[in-house]
């Protein structure tokens, strides 16, 4: 095979800030190179350099930047436009925002053809339908006229991929192509990308997810702070990482194997506050009995979002709630918090009625249960300082709030200097620590964690998960832990509740559910999960079902 792409000593800077520092790699047709790294590592910028879309203020230099025998350095706008879409296809993450929301998907795909003068209108139309069919979108004749939001997440991503491969480009670059997707949908999208590669295109996969990479890549380049720290055969790099950063990334992934261990060994345990004895474990701190919640759908019919869900949560225990989007996880959390009125069933908090009380009487007991959200930024007033955010969450009868705020900051591993900062001046991990401190402020017995680490890089995620584990040991907290990430759920949970379409599919201890799943749905979910075992050494992926499963249908936001 001859080299399709060769990059040597690539440098990209924005003003004084150098974001890519001397990156080199090459790629042959029919092969997949994965560029892995955390946010800010320069992986996306590197990818965009290859299509000349780093933006007007960037300075790009390279010793070699050669694609298909052509020097990409110094191409003019007109020449770049010829390359884009025709020779190199580019797929961004999250098709909901990467497709024009106001245009039917058919026009977006047609656009790629039209821009490169592909055939007549009729020929283009046939090609668009063919592409939709090829990427596995059912009923192309109907879908071609639909808007992105009328499609499911998986179908949208397929449509986006279709627009990128419309002209059979020699190279396809996919920037986090599955990041926002459910695990079963992710498996199908990865399968589609694999097929594109097998048909002879070269594939560059940008990802933070090492498990995805393990499944797809022939070669891996690990990026950190704008440099490639390790590069080589995917199997070798993942099985026997040479660089300590690669090793740390691999260690940080919560999974079946990591249970009971610390994910970020370098960070200290939190041991500053004396341990509070856990409550006697006889009565559950939180109990749900036959919860039902219905929402009115856009068609005017009621949808049962939570359907007869029961669970108990004991003191000091973590109950993991796992399911795909639309499974009712978040609604269950809101019902537990009594933020949403249940249509049936009830919730008991610390053995006493909770969901049935009028809000006025609940208010006095709100301090017993608190919540941590996925995106702390939107749950903070951006103009408030950390100190004010935390002081505001303290019970009104708190003595010496200043001292208590200092205590909370210490508990979550933040420094006194963070006190005066505002949310926007904090990193993602620090923000989530503030969110945790805020949840701890009223000394709750239960904390509902709704996707608390889903927006974080794997190393930061590891630290936050470790912190949550420490806090639980120390304060005897109970967690209702919601996540779509099976690895995170297994790592954190004592017991697990699997939800699908609002119903409890399976429940048991974490090991029971993960190692000996009883229900077909749970088994399918686990099978779809990419694992770190490199390609070839694991059983072949189950072929994605030709008909879309329930998770691939249009999601209706509750």
């Amino acid at each position: 095979m001859t080299e399709l792409l060769r990059v040597e000593n690539l440098q990209v800077g924005f003003g004084d800030r150098q974001v890519v520092k001397g990156v080199s790699f090459s790629l042959e047709a029919g092969r997949c190179l994965a560029i892995v790294g955390e946010s800010g590592s320069g992986k996306s910028v590197t990818a965009r350099t290859l299509v000349g879309l780093t933006g007007g203020t960037s300075q790009v230099t390279a010793d070699t930047l050669e694609f298909d025998g052509r020097d990409l350095r110094g191409l003019g706008d007109r020449q770049w436009r010829d390359v884009r879409g025709r020779d190199i296809g580019f797929v961004l993450q999250d098709a909901l925002v990467s497709l024009d929301q106001l245009r039917p998907i058919g026009r977006e795909i047609d656009e790629a053809l039209r821009l490169h003068d592909y055939g007549t209108r009729d020929e283009r139309r046939r090609r668009v339908l063919h592409l939709l069919d090829e990427v596995g979108i059912p009923e192309p004749l109907l879908r071609v006229r639909q808007l992105p939001h009328e499609l499911s997440g998986g179908q949208r991503q397929r449509a986006l991929i279709a627009s990128a491969i419309a002209l059979d480009p020699k190279l396809v670059i996919a920037d986090e192509p599955t990041t926002a997707l459910d695990v079963t949908v992710q498996a199908r999208i990865l399968h589609l990308l694999e097929r594109i590669r097998d048909e002879g295109s070269a594939l560059i996969l940008i990802s933070h997810d090492l498990a995805v990479v393990a499944r797809m890549a022939d070669e891996v380049a690990v990026m950190r702070h704008g440099e490639i720290v390790e590069r080589g055969d995917a199997r070798e790099v993942l099985a026997d990482p040479q660089h300590e950063y690669t090793q740390a990334l691999l260690d940080a992934i919560p999974s079946t194997h990591s249970k009971g261990t610390r994910l970020s060994p370098g960070t200290p345990h939190v041991t500053t506050v004396p341990a509070r004895p856990a409550r006697p474990a006889d009565a559950p701190v939180l109990a749900a009995e036959g919860l039902v919640k219905r929402f009115r759908g856009p068609d005017g019919r009621d949808r049962t979002v939570v359907d007869d869900v029961s669970f108990t949560l004991s003191a000091g225990e973590t109950l993991g709630v796992v399911g795909e989007s639309g499974s009712g996880k978040t609604t269950t959390a809101r019902l537990a918090l009594a933020l949403t009125e249940a249509d049936g069933g009830r919730v008991l908090l610390n053995g006493e009625p909770w969901s049935e009380l009028p809000e006025k009487r609940r208010r006095g007991r709100r301090r017993e249960i608190s919540v941590i959200y996925q995106d702390p930024l939107s749950s903070f007033d951006p103009r408030w300082s950390v100190e004010r955010i935390l002081a505001d969450a303290l019970p009104s009868d708190a003595r010496d709030p200043r001292k208590r705020v200092a205590e909370l900051l210490d508990l979550v591993g933040l420094e006194d200097e963070h006190r005066a900062r505002r949310p926007l001046q904090l990193s993602g991990g620090q923000r989530q620590r503030v969110a945790i401190a805020r949840a701890l402020a009223p000394e709750p017995s239960v904390i509902v964690c709704d996707e608390p680490v889903s927006a974080l890089d794997v190393s930061i995620q590891a630290q936050v998960l470790d912190l949550l584990t420490d806090l639980q040991e120390q304060l005897g907290l109970s967690y209702l832990f919601i996540s779509h990430d099976l690895g995170v759920i297994h790592h954190m949970s004592d017991r697990v509740l699997v939800l699908n379409e609002g119903k409890v599919v399976e429940t048991g201890t974490a090991d029971e559910v993960f190692f000996a799943p009883k229900q077909p749905y749970t088994r399918a979910l686990l099978a779809a999960l990419p694992t770190l075992e490199p390609r070839g050494e694991r059983p072949a992926m189950p072929e994605p079902s030709p008909t879309p499963s329930s998770s691939d249908t249009v999601e209706v936001s509750a």
Binding site: R81, V83, D94, L99, Q101, L102, E108, L160
Partner: protein
């Protein structure tokens, strides 16, 4: 379908509220209406005797109970009767009807011109070189702040009197429409342009714009085919308000350029305290607002097809 019915019901409520308001303002104005009428006719201001007032009261129904008058007024409105002008003794509908078309044309021309100017500014000056960007947004800020009256006089003096490109008194010809329409359009264009520019800047940072560029789309096409459609949504919302404001603000352009139109009647009627005519115009303006907002709704649905679900 349900939402359409609700919208129409809402529009009717607005019209009813406007009618009720104007009616009670008329009734509550200081001074006896019959005396006012007689004084206006004779040009003298004096106290009238009951014998003098009786036929007037009879003719205009001022002697009936207020509730009865209100019911009659609403009934008249429903059948398109806005009452009789005190001054001209002609039906208000007739007086307004004769003059409404020039104002409608002026308003629509101004709105279209404002949109064209605002869109061109956005398309060609947003995210360009520093100089172009500053010129574009500077023009918008400046023009949004221009008073109509001053702008109209300047346009008149420069283009009609000094350069003689346009007629000083355009009458109702298309050519004569240009300067008055620009008088109204330029400040509105600045305003719409500012709103659209902000949105346009945000849209240009969206991932779907990168997607389009990655397909090989050129900069102008990205702006024209993708970004603009997203960026005009806030300005469309404002256009409902703008259309109504243009209609009631047309009076200044009509006076400066001596055009026929509702504005002229409004000024004359207001000066003469010809209350039914003023009230009639208020009703027409309310009606224009209602129609404008329904049109905005429609336009919004066309530009943003997501709403239909």
């Amino acid at each position: 379908m349900k939402s359409v019915a609700l919208k129409i019901l809402g529009a009717l409520v607005v019209l009813w509220a406007a009618a009720t308001f104007t009616f009670f303002v008329q009734a509550a104005l200081p001074g006896d209406r019959a005396t006012l009428l007689l004084n206006q006719d004779s040009g003298q201001i004096k106290k009238r005797t009951a014998a003098e007032l009786a036929p007037i009261n009879e003719e205009f129904g001022f002697d009936k109970p207020l509730v009865q008058q209100y019911a009659d007024y609403l009934g008249g409105l429903a059948t398109g009767d806005l009452g009789i002008s005190y001054q001209k003794k002609a039906p208000v509908t007739e007086i307004i009807g004769e003059q409404i078309l020039p104002t409608v044309w002026l308003t629509l021309a101004a709105l279209v011109a404002a949109w064209v100017i605002a869109l061109l500014l956005t398309l060609f000056t947003t995210r360009r070189s520093r100089v172009v960007k500053t010129l574009g947004s500077g023009f918008e800020t400046l023009s949004a702040a221009l008073p109509h009256y001053w702008l109209g006089v300047i346009l008149l003096v420069v283009f009609a009197i000094q350069l003689s490109i346009f007629p000083v008194e355009g009458g109702t010809s298309l050519y004569g429409l240009i300067l008055p329409a620009l008088t109204l359009a330029i400040p509105l264009a600045g305003f719409l342009g500012q709103v659209t520019r902000d949105e346009f800047e945000n849209v240009l940072d969206e991932p779907f714009i990168t997607s389009a560029r990655a397909r090989g789309m050129g900069d102008f096409e990205v702006r024209w085919r993708h970004a603009l459609r997203h960026a005009v949504l806030p300005a469309i919302t404002l256009s409902g308000w703008a259309l109504g404001a243009l209609f009631s603000g047309a009076v200044i352009a009509e006076i400066v350029f001596a055009r026929q139109g509702i504005g002229q009647i409004l000024v004359t009627a207001a000066n003469a305290r010809d209350v039914p005519v003023v009230a009639g115009i208020v009703m027409v303006v309310a009606f224009v607002y209602v129609i404008a907002n329904l049109l905005v709704d429609l336009a919004y649905r066309i530009v943003d097809p997501r709403i239909q679900t």
